[in-house]
Symmetry: C2
Subunit: 131 residues, 2 copies
């Protein structure tokens, strides 16, 4: 038996307006995206988390993937109506990696072209901070 992979978190910005003037009582595109995603079964090991503003407002909707010793990835230009299956499949592929780097050929096309930024894993510190 091998140890289970550390959990993966799919963060979804639920405040995203996609640059539109959304009435206060209307459901925002980010919330629609979250609702679409959570209406589906999450892949094994993947948790979906609502987040208030990932501050990628010019290129929304926006999601991020993180967990364990993997790189954290932020993806933008997500379509709230059509991208939920792709995101969950991408999250599953991400979860199967140790470092967060989905092999290029397997990587969803949207991930290839809409990576906003990535953050390295927290690694053991080899240098002390300045006192």
């Amino acid at each position: 038996m091998t140890a289970p992979a550390p959990p993966t978190e799919l963060l979804v910005c639920v405040k995203c307006r996609k640059g539109m003037d959304v009435p206060a009582d209307d459901r925002r595109p980010g919330q629609r995206l979250y609702d679409e995603i959570t209406a589906r079964d999450a892949p094994e090991g993947v948790r979906v988390t609502a987040v208030e503003c990932l501050q990628n407002c010019d290129y929304g909707c926006t999601v991020a993937l993180r967990g364990g010793d993997r790189w954290t990835y932020v993806f933008g230009n997500v379509d709230e109506a059509s991208h939920s299956d792709m995101l969950l499949e991408g999250a599953s592929l991400y979860h199967q990696t140790a470092d967060g780097l989905i092999p290029w050929r397997q990587r969803p096309e949207h991930f290839k072209r809409n990576c906003i930024a990535r953050i390295p894993p927290l690694t053991p510190q080899t240098q002390e901070p300045a006192e």
Copy 2:
């Protein structure tokens, strides 16, 4: 005595070309930025870390701030020649916060206008991942 704030890490993308065609043997803008920053004294509690590609290549140079239970912030459009002092001052202000949110009035102007994305802190999980 109060406990010291958890360390802050200032990540600097040293591979950044800023969209330029940099000769292989030439120092890249990202490396110049890192060299400029590390030539200065880091503020208390701040560690500067070189990173290979934060994948914000369209809006480089790029840095990120993270540490403790703070939000992680990615900032773009950094100028390798003139922004080192501002970045270290911003890192110090960030370090003095518990959540990573520098009060707006204190926040460097560059941070206000060039936030590429932010990632929430890892918080205690209230929901189990799907099995």
